[in-house]
């Protein structure tokens, strides 16, 4: 099968740049990593600075509070004598104390009624008036006498560097006179307290706050500098580290172009080394796979010789070379004589072994002087370069002689290999490779006609020229038909004899002629096979038939198709996958499609065909063995080929009514098919008598002009049911009912 052409190619098969989106990334990895790194660092730095600021603020505020309270206590002690008696030294000490701490803006002492007593300040403006305490403050602070926290503090987080503290000043005395039974442990609560006044501190720690801010600014600047430096260094380091990745770009591009011999620079970093190793492994694996694929694409699986495609390519090159005046070459077309006899006698594995032996012998005969290819089946081709006609003849004679010496033993049978060789000389580009192959093939057929085991040079007679021209003409027409969709499908009904109803339709291939008529496949398919176009035709047939089936099933849901496939289709490895994809694409149940394979093809490639049949049946499709009876007709093969239908060749049906031997043969095939669980289809049913007789002989289905000719659209027909077929149907029903009634019933 040939897959669909890539949708992103233009008519010339070149990648269409207009349809390819630009998939190259715009972002630069270094910038992205650095941006991320710097962003994270900046966030962490900002958090650190914020933490530093708030932490420092908190610590300072805590310290401010402690200092403030300590100073309050000291000023409380120092200022208490102010209320007791005039002492100039007290004021001096207070001023000295206050002057020692520039953070103290002002200390104010108040009388018990809240009126200012005295004020000491560090502020420049000493003219600030003293105000009495408010009633609210007076009430609050008066209640603090003797408490554990005998002060009011006024500060906030948002203005953490200024404090106002107001505290009461009081005296205490022990209650009992003389203290003769004084016990410090139990007398603590006996103290009598007398409020003396109040002290107020106004503190301003702006100096420390500004220093904190200055330090934070310095820290921020250093952090920013470090960020810039680390960004610069990081960029350089990253660029250096990523250079190894950039260096991979060129080798990878080369690798993408198919240059598998590309060399990668060794990397210093482990991660990149691993990438390099992976790329080298990939290149190596690709090389091996390419070699394997190339071998599969260019060589014949059985013999290892060049296959038809590769040989034709070599031939094309040689024609071009010869055309440029570089010598003369010869093309030999070799066909084994009576090879079919080996296959028929000893089976296809034996035939395969013989083919391999012949291939080896041909390779030895030709040596380095030429190219040997397997063209198909028992056909080989040899391209010998720089030879004269005489030298080519000599080589052909050597080949004939050497192959005659080949003795092949299979199951006590001894076979001698003979072949016929057709030779055509290549001395110009007057004929292309297709022409040349056709000439050599014709010469080979001449050699066979002349008695086999001999060689013949191509000599262009008028008839042969016409034939070759016709063949070449057909190749061109077929290519055009495939490209321009000039191939058509026709549908011939197959009916179930017992009911007369159409079971399914066989899909038949036709080609539209230039004049509008229909060309039978017998006319163009041989040329298609010969010139390697069957793969494309099979692909077209499967795609189109399933698509048509989907279309017709909209109105006729139980419509089923039977498709004929060539040997090429069954040789393709991806047949099953391709069929499945098409069925899935059109949502067709697999059991609505039957694939027909001719008996001769199945027998020739038994082991391969077995796998393909198994694969198709596993999907749910049905398989029909076509033209049964014309080829080997070995009933033992039926056990090996698990098909659903046996299609009896028309040669048994054509004279069925008159020929009792054919009748017995058909009856026997029907009985054997039933025994093997297969249904039988009779082709070439031309008359109602034959149709009736087939029902009597136990055949299940019938196809032919009596039933219906191929039509442009599938037409469902209902045929009159033969009496015997009705009786047989009734009998089967009765037998079924009897079996049912005699079955033991459950209690």
């Amino acid at each position: 099968m040939t897959p669909n052409a890539p949708r992103s190619t233009n008519r010339k098969g070149q990648p269409d740049a207009r349809r390819q989106p630009d998939r190259r990334g715009k972002r630069v990895l270094i910038h992205e990593i650095l941006s991320l790194q710097l962003a994270i660092t900046a966030v962490i730095g900002a958090l650190a600075i914020a933490g530093l600021y708030w932490g420092g603020q908190w610590v300072l505020q805590d310290n401010y509070s402690r200092w403030a309270l300590q100073w309050t206590e000291e000023l409380n002690e120092l200022g208490a004598p102010l209320y007791l008696k005039g002492d100039a030294e007290v004021l001096l000490r207070l001023e000295t104390f206050t002057a020692r701490y520039p953070e103290i803006d002002r200390v104010t002492y108040y009388f018990q009624d809240g009126t200012p007593h005295h004020s000491i300040d560090n502020m420049r403006d000493h003219s600030l008036p003293m105000h009495p305490l408010s009633d609210d403050a007076l009430e609050k602070v008066s209640g603090l006498v003797g408490s554990d926290t005998p002060y009011l503090i006024d500060s906030s987080v948002f203005d953490a560097h200024t404090f106002e503290i107001l505290a009461p000043i009081w005296t205490e005395s022990i209650g009992s006179d003389g203290l003769f039974s004084f016990d410090p442990g139990s007398a603590a609560g006996d103290n009598a307290r007398n409020l003396a006044g109040f002290v107020e501190l106004e503190l301003d720690f702006s100096y420390f706050h500004e220093r904190l801010l200055t330090n934070i600014k310095i820290a921020t600047s250093v952090l920013l500098l470090l960020l810039v430096v680390s960004g610069f260094i990081g960029r350089r380091r990253l660029r250096r580290a990523l250079t190894a990745i950039s260096d991979l770009q060129q080798p990878i591009a080369e690798l993408a172009k198919g240059n598998l011999a590309v060399e990668f620079k060794p990397a210093r970093h482990r991660e990149i080394s691993e990438i390099v190793e992976a790329l080298e492994s990939t290149a190596s694996a690709l090389g091996e796979r390419n070699e394997r694929l190339s071998r599969l694409a260019n060589h014949d699986v059985l013999t290892g010789l060049y296959n038809r495609r590769r040989f034709v390519e070599e031939l094309r090159k040689e024609v071009h070379k010869v055309a440029t005046g570089r010598g003369e070459s010869a093309l030999l077309f070799i066909d084994l004589d009576q090879f079919k006899y080996v296959n028929d006698t000893c089976g296809h594995p034996a035939g395969d072994r013989l083919i391999r032996k012949v291939a080896d012998q041909l390779q030895r005969c030709v040596g380095d002087g030429g190219t040997v290819g397997r063209f198909g089946g028992d056909e080989f081709t040899v391209l010998v370069t720089n030879v004269t006609k005489t030298e080519a003849q000599t080589l052909a004679e050597i080949i004939l002689e050497d192959l005659r010496k080949v003795v092949h033993v299979e199951d006590d049978n001894v076979f001698h290999v003979h072949c016929s060789i057709g030779i055509t000389m290549i001395d110009s580009d007057k004929f292309d490779h297709d022409d040349l192959i056709s000439q050599a093939d014709i010469a080979c057929r001449d050699a066979k006609t002349s008695g086999r085991n001999r060689l013949a040079f191509h000599s262009m007679t008028e008839r042969e020229a016409e034939q070759m021209a016709a063949d070449v003409n057909w190749v061109g027409k077929l290519r055009e038909a495939i490209d321009k969709n000039l191939l058509l499908l026709r549908y011939q009904p197959i009916v179930r004899i017992a009911t007369g109803e159409t079971s399914h339709h066989e899909v038949l291939l036709r080609m539209k002629s230039e004049r509008g008529g229909m060309i039978s496949p017998d006319v163009f398919l041989p040329a298609a096979v010969r010139f390697g176009l069957m793969a494309e035709i099979d692909t077209w047939l499967i795609e189109t038939a399933i698509a048509e089936l989907a279309k017709y099933r909209v109105d006729t849901p139980d419509l089923r198709f039977s498709l004929n496939l060539s040997a090429n289709a069954f040789e393709a490895e991806n047949l099953t996958a391709f069929v499945l994809s098409e069925l899935t694409r059109h949502a067709i149940p697999p059991d609505c499609v039957t694939f027909e394979i001719t008996e001769s093809l199945a027998m020739r490639h038994l082991s391969h065909v077995e796998k393909q049949i198994a694969g198709l049946r596993e999907l749910g499709c049905e398989v029909s063995l076509d033209d049964f009876g014309t080829g080997y007709s070995s009933f033992s093969y039926l056990q090996k080929l698990p098909v659903d239908y046996i299609k009896i060749d028309g040669s048994f049906i054509r004279e069925l009514v008159r020929n009792p031997v054919d009748q017995k043969m058909v009856r026997m095939i029907g009985e054997i098919g039933r025994a093997a669980g297969m249904k039988t289809i009779a082709e070439y049913v031309q008359t109602g008598t034959a149709f009736t007789l087939l029902g009597r002989l136990g055949i299940d289905y019938a196809q032919g002009f009596y039933i219906g000719r191929p039509t442009a659209t599938p037409i469902r027909k209902t045929m009159p049911v033969p009496i015997d077929a009705r009786q047989a149907k009734r009998r089967r029903k009765e037998n079924k009912r009897v079996r049912h009634n005699t079955r033991p019933r459950p209690l």
Binding site: E77, A80, D177, L179, F180, P184
Partner: protein, 286 residues
């Protein structure tokens, strides 16, 4: 020679309350006076005026008041002469209707300084802070110090804060401090602060009560209850016999009990013991 009968003092004892210091003195007085009438002012079942009415009816010759509230009540209600003791800050009213005499509440300062000096020979400067009204005590202190080659630096304070303030200023210049039991200028907090500051300046403190030794002071110079009782009885006898005018308003004591933090003993003219105890020579009775 016929030994005269000891003079029987008919006295009633009035206690300010049941504190141990007062009860010990009362006990000592009881042993000297037989079974005197005894009233406790903290006993709310009997108002002071009723108690003193009962005293009058009992026919006692003198009322012995122990503690300031008892002394003040006696001066107000008693119809017989009053002898008070265990009173440190007494302000006698001008219109006394009966004779009133007192016994010193603290041991003689001379004995205290003498004992202190023996314990701490390097003692040179003693500081003292008192409330108002103790001029006699200050003079006594000066004399006692001078007799022992020690100087006294004193200050008059009006409150605990002032006392603390004064002590803070005084502490660098003294090596010993007399903590008098003047409750008007002392509070527990200030006593603790004084002890703390004194320790900082290596100032040794002499206190008036053994229990203060627990706060970390070095020496306690307390009065002796038996000495107090004997002195009180002697004063009472003088009053009853009509020679009260010959005795001072406040009769000093004769004994001192010296205690240190390592050992506690008692110093008097009749006994002495302990390696850390010291004391002055007895001065004899009045």
């Amino acid at each position: 020679m016929e030994v005269p009968e000891p003079f029987k003092v008919e006295a009633a004892i009035v206690l300010s309350d049941r504190s141990p210091a007062f009860e010990k003195v009362a006990t000592e007085l009881g042993s000297l006076l037989g079974q005197p009438l005894m009233y406790n002012l903290s006993d709310k079942s009997l108002p002071p005026e009723d108690a003193f009415a009962a005293v009058t009816e009992s026919g006692v010759a003198v009322v012995i008041a122990i503690g300031l509230p008892a002394a003040q009540a006696a001066m107000s209600w008693s119809t017989v002469p009053v002898v008070y003791c265990q009173v440190f800050n007494l302000e006698e009213p001008d219109d006394l209707s009966v004779p009133v005499k007192g016994v010193a509440s603290i041991p003689p300062l001379s004995l205290q300084v003498e004992a202190w000096k023996q314990l701490d020979p390097e003692l040179q400067h003693i500081g003292a802070i008192l409330g108002n009204g103790h001029e006699d005590l200050i003079q006594e202190a000066k004399r006692a110090a001078a007799a022992n080659g020690v100087s006294v630096h004193y200050r008059i304070a009006n409150s605990d804060r002032e006392a603390l303030y004064m002590f803070q200023r005084m502490a660098p210049r003294i090596d010993g401090f007399w903590l008098f039991p003047d409750n008007r200028i002392l509070s527990v907090t200030v006593i603790e602060e004084i002890v703390r500051i004194a320790a900082h300046h290596r100032v040794r403190i002499a206190v008036f009560n053994d229990s203060l030794l627990e706060m970390g002071v070095a020496v306690s110079t307390a009065s002796v209850e038996a000495d107090i009782a004997a002195t009180v009885v002697a004063v009472a006898e003088k009053i009853i016999t009509g020679t009260g005018d010959m005795i001072p308003d406040l009769t000093p004591l004769d004994a001192v009990k010296i205690s240190t933090r390592t050992a506690i003993g008692e110093q008097s003219d009749t006994f002495a013991a302990g390696t850390d105890e010291a004391g002055g020579a007895p001065k004899g009775r009045l």
